[in-house]
């Protein structure tokens, strides 16, 4: 056991974490990154499309903000959205100044391309691998600055004091488990802890997300007392390969790729899902059409439909979509020049997350979140393509600076239980939350409140947890996890109805109970991935419950959330953010206001049609 | 400028010379083989014939250059191979000087022989 002390601890080294660390370092803080994967292994590397930024003449951040609010189906908070759009150009240029290999125009300036839902071609890109370049460019800057990175160090829990009201609590650090040696370490942060742990895609059986995307940050913050916001809004991508979930970009349909069902029909038109746009309709529309086809018995093996681009001709395909040929052959064993590619919808992005304000701060002092794990609320009910990467750099930087003690202005977004406007009104079919009575987050509040003692006590508690898991002669977590994934995929997918959601809650409860019996069968302390994944599974269960609960309560159709029997967006009743707080093991559902009031205008909800 | 001279590490030079000698050797070695195995069969070689060839200044110079180039190329190659194998420190220094001395001796002896072959006398 070792205790490490730094001003700022950044948990997670994807785009958001790296940006936060660099910002904190530039503000003069002694910063360290703690990450379960080596930084360049983070899933930010998988992003293909690009970074939205109003950079060029003729474009304006106001337009970007307008597009984003509309795209969010008016569930984005205007102050956050405006910050995103205002800061994005500067942050994107910063990447260029750090040497990022953007694609270029004839005149040597960075290229931008059009993207769905944007009124201007403002998606700045680097080939078909923007995320890869962004990730590596920022990691390079971390190396340049000599920022300490503790890699293959799994953060298990946050060290937080245990005052009754989360808003009074303070986060003093976190507990890391050194994957290579099996040692537990305490990380003390005098300035703050920034969570940047990415999305929770592994809740679903079929996802474009990496295996490491288990949303640990959300789960840890949730248990520490920060509410999770708008978790029911999950983006599903319509074209992913069935055996792996690897994403086949919109580009294929953009170039003229056609979707067929097993009867050989071009269903987007034949069944009237989108008579104008056909295959080019928005992600959620196409995803729902595909599932409808499969449910009607017109699908192929593995619940897939076919995406055919052979008619485009080999030349055009190799010219514009070369990477798709590689993806389909490498990951599905299908040569798209010779046969159609099987595709199906897959979980892609979690719009919700840890509730934060524009500075990335949560209601617990000293605890920050940025990136996909956070919900400042820029994506609302639906994320526009190309808006996640700017979120990473804009809010990553802000969180880093603020944690390092810089003044980044007073936030307009209120956080924590005091922002509550009304209580949730829903009857879950089973009890939620903790199975056994849990101990408070940390016992630090009692003895003395020194950061060191809070961290040390949390460390003891986590040591017990590890020992218990290692000693239990129990079932394999993988069984629980796969059951969770199946029920989420079956019931909380692109189509949702009351019965299904209730069933999911029951199944989640069942998973929770079975999780009590889980044990780690690998007895080794060296690189014990069995243990790590077992802990992750617990985190998935917590979040799945929050997500499903929010979805059950929300009886409307907004953005990515479709509810049977409620086919309209209901601004009267549902123009509000869903919040779920762990509440020491007894989850509490409530709502907060959506801020539509911008700097100089109000974003009036309009029908979202493209 | 002066710094740049010194920054031209011996590794660069040796790498380049290895290539330059190789190019030179291609031509000369092929010529050598053709001449002494195909035109004049090795078994028919006599000192008289050798002397006749060696007495031509062009041939003599070519053969001496051939010798020097081949020696450098071969010995440098061996040294590189050993360095790549991970030899360092004292053994490396020893090998370096050992090989250099061997090369010098080889070249010296070669030139002596060549001189004798022209019919010249060793003083």
């Amino acid at each position: 056991m070792t205790l490490y002390e730094h001003d700022v601890i950044v948990v997670g080294a994807g785009g958001a974490g790296l940006r936060a660390a660099i910002a904190a370092h530039e503000s003069g803080a002694d910063v360290a990154m703690v990450t379960k994967l080596h930084p360049v292994r983070s899933h930010t590397g998988a992003a293909e499309g690009g970074i939205n930024a109003a950079l060029k003449d003729g474009d304006d951040w106001h337009d970007h903000a307008y597009d984003t609010m509309k795209g969010s189906d008016y569930l984005g908070d205007a102050p956050a959205v405006e910050t995103l759009c205002k800061d994005s150009p500067q942050e994107t240029m910063q990447l260029e100044h750090w040497g990022m290999a953007f694609s270029r125009e004839e005149d040597g300036r960075v290229s931008q391309r059009p993207f769905g839902g944007l009124s201007f071609p403002r998606t700045t890109y680097a080939g078909a691998e923007t995320g890869h370049h962004l990730l590596h460019t920022m990691y390079e800057q971390v190396v340049k600055r000599g920022i300490q990175v503790y890699d293959e160090q799994y953060v298990m829990e946050l060290a937080v004091t245990d005052e009754p009201d989360p808003e009074d609590r303070t986060c003093y650090g976190c507990i890391g488990y050194d994957i290579k040696t099996g040692e537990l370490n305490g990380f003390i942060a005098s300035g703050g802890v920034v969570l940047a742990t990415g999305g929770p895609g592994q809740m679903f059986a079929h996802t474009t997300n990496a295996v490491a995307q288990t949303g640990d940050g959300q789960a840890m913050a949730y248990r520490a007392g920060v509410p999770l916001q708008d978790m029911e809004f999950v983006q599903f991508h319509p074209t992913t390969l069935p055996s792996t979930g690897v994403l086949i970009s919109e580009g294929v349909r953009g170039e003229g790729g056609i979707l067929y069902n097993s009867e050989g029909e071009r269903f987007m038109f034949e069944y009237g899902y989108a008579n104008n746009d056909g295959e080019l309709a928005s992600r959620d529309v196409v995803a729902r059409a595909e599932v409808t086809e499969v449910n009607a018995g017109r699908g192929f093996e593995n619940d897939a439909v076919h995406l055919d681009m052979r008619h485009l001709g080999e030349e055009r395909i190799t010219d514009r979509l070369e990477n798709i040929i590689h993806l389909a052959t490498d990951f599905e064993g299908v040569n798209p020049l010779e046969e159609p590619m099987p595709v199906k919808p897959g979980q892609h992005y979690e719009m919700g997350g840890i509730e934060t304000d524009e500075n990335g701060e949560t209601c617990i002092s000293g605890l920050y979140a940025a990136g996909e794990c956070a919900c400042v609320s820029v994506h609302g009910a639906n994320r526009l393509g190309g808006n996640a990467l700017p979120e990473l750099i804009v809010f990553g930087a802000r969180a880093g600076r603020h944690a390092a003690g810089e003044d980044t202005g007073t936030p307009q977004i209120e956080t924590g239980p005091s922002a509550r406007i009304e209580d949730g009104d829903v009857e879950p079919p089973v009890e939620l939350g903790a199975v056994e009575s849990t101990s408070p987050v940390a016992d630090g509040g009692t003895a003395d409140d020194s950061p060191r003692s809070v961290v040390e006590q949390t460390l003891e508690q986590e040591r017990d947890r590890v020992d218990r898991l290692m000693e239990t002669d129990g079932i394999n977590h993988a069984d629980v996890r796969s059951d969770l994934q199946e029920t989420m995929t079956a019931n909380v997918n692109v189509f949702r109805n009351e019965d299904g959601l209730k069933q999911a809650l029951r199944d989640i409860r069942d998973c929770r109970e079975r999780y009590q019996e889980v044990g780690v069968s690998d007895p080794s302390r060296t690189y014990n991935t069995d243990l790590i994944q077992t802990i992750e599974t617990r985190n998935l269960i917590d979040q799945a419950e929050v997500l499903t609960l929010g979805a059950l309560a929300r009886t409307e159709f907004r953005g990515a959330h479709w509810r049977q029997g409620y086919q309209e967006r209901d601004d009267e009743e549902w123009l509000k953010h869903t919040m779920v707080a762990w509440n020491n093991g007894d989850p509490d559902l409530y709502y907060t206001d959506v801020l539509l009031e911008g700097e100089d205008k109000r974003y009036e909800p309009k029908i979202r049609s493209y | 400028m002066a710094e740049h001279y010194s920054s031209f590490s011996s590794e660069d030079t040796r790498w380049l010379l290895q290539r330059v000698t190789a190019v030179f050797l291609v031509g000369v070695l092929a010529f050598h083989f053709m001449l002494l195995h195909f035109v004049h069969h090795a078994a028919e070689i006599t000192l008289a014939g050798t002397t006749a060839r060696m007495s031509q200044p062009g041939y003599f110079v070519t053969m001496v250059l051939f010798l020097i180039a081949a020696t450098f190329h071969g010995v440098n190659g061996v040294y590189n191979a050993l360095v790549n194998q991970g030899i360092s420190g004292t053994p490396r220094t020893v090998i370096k000087y050992g090989l250099t001395i061997a090369s010098v001796l080889l070249i010296a002896q070669g030139i002596r022989v060549a001189w004798v072959m022209t019919g010249g006398n060793l003083i």
Binding site: L327, D330, D473, S521 | N84
Partner: protein
């Protein structure tokens, strides 16, 4: 589908007594449950084709695994299945202590470079149908094994760090002004920027084995900056000095295996050779 799980010989029995008894019991229980649980796993395949994996096992801490050995796993094959899929299946179904790094499943995180049937490849990018069966899976050669298929990457990271893998220019325009870069120049560095740090190249190079040679990936990283016109001359000069040094480009013996195994198709040998010429040219002009 549930009956697909072969109930025999999924692990070498040589180690039966070596394994702690509880683990054996657990595994048995698990299999039983799998047999009974209604499996909704989707697969129209009715053929019971299974692929045999021979997987390298080692754990310094576990009795019976201290001496490296190979375990056999029989995994039901489905179309499109990759080596990584098969490993995950084996781990989740038969032996949860089977250890390997993996994350993205799409050849972008670079964590699962393995030695598969005698070649360095990414598990996630390798279709089982393209391999000869049984499939032999080992950790990357020339690196120390931490456990099972996990190798120590420290040396690789150190070599990457040694070339100052970051853009060095301080003299950048202000604000929203970008540094201009020609399309051709971007095209020139494009392949070199695709590296995912998987270490396959380094593992395949005999020269990099054991010694301190920078290795193809690090040199390629240097190439990415040397060739980038946005960095100015002084910096480029500095970089050339690094790669010319003792353990730099001159070590490369053009074995080409790095280029052959690189999952991102980076022409590594070409880049190294170009840097050699660049270094010579750079110095020659003062003669």
């Amino acid at each position: 589908m549930s009956t697909n799980v072969p109930d025999t010989d999924t692990e070498t029995h040589a180690d039966t007594d070596a394994q702690p008894a509880p683990q054996q019991r657990r595994l048995a229980k698990k299999r039983e449950r799998r047999e009974h649980s209604p499996q909704s796993e989707t697969s129209g395949d009715t053929d019971q084709e299974t692929v045999e994996l021979k997987v390298f096992r080692y754990d310094p801490e576990v009795e019976g695994k201290r001496e490296p050995r190979f375990d056999d796993f029989h995994v039901p094959f489905t179309k499109g299945m990759t080596v990584l899929d098969a490993l995950i299946y084996a781990r989740d179904t038969f032996d949860s202590s089977l250890t390997f790094r993996h994350s993205c499943r799409q050849a972008i995180c670079g964590s699962d470079a393995l030695f598969i049937n005698g070649a360095q490849r990414l598990g996630c990018q390798t279709q089982l149908s393209d391999l000869e069966w049984p499939v032999r899976i080992e950790p990357l050669p020339h690196q120390e094994v931490v456990k099972d298929l996990v190798v120590d990457m420290e040396h690789f990271y150190e070599q990457m760090d040694a070339v100052d893998p970051f853009f060095k220019d301080e003299d950048v325009p202000d604000g929203l002004e970008e540094q201009r870069q020609d399309r051709e120049n971007r095209e020139k560095i494009k392949m070199s920027t695709r590296c995912i740090w998987c270490g396959a190249c380094m593992s395949s190079c005999n020269i990099a084995a054991g010694g301190n040679y920078l290795g193809p990936a690090a040199i390629n990283k240097a190439y990415r900056f040397v060739m980038d016109e946005r960095e100015d001359g002084d910096v480029t000069q500095e970089r050339l000095e690094t790669i010319e040094a003792e353990e730099g480009v001159w070590r490369c013996q053009t074995q080409f295996s790095c280029t052959e195994v690189c999952p991102k198709d980076i022409p590594l040998t070409e880049h190294i050779q170009e840097l050699k010429r660049e270094a010579v040219k750079n110095n020659l002009k003062f003669w």
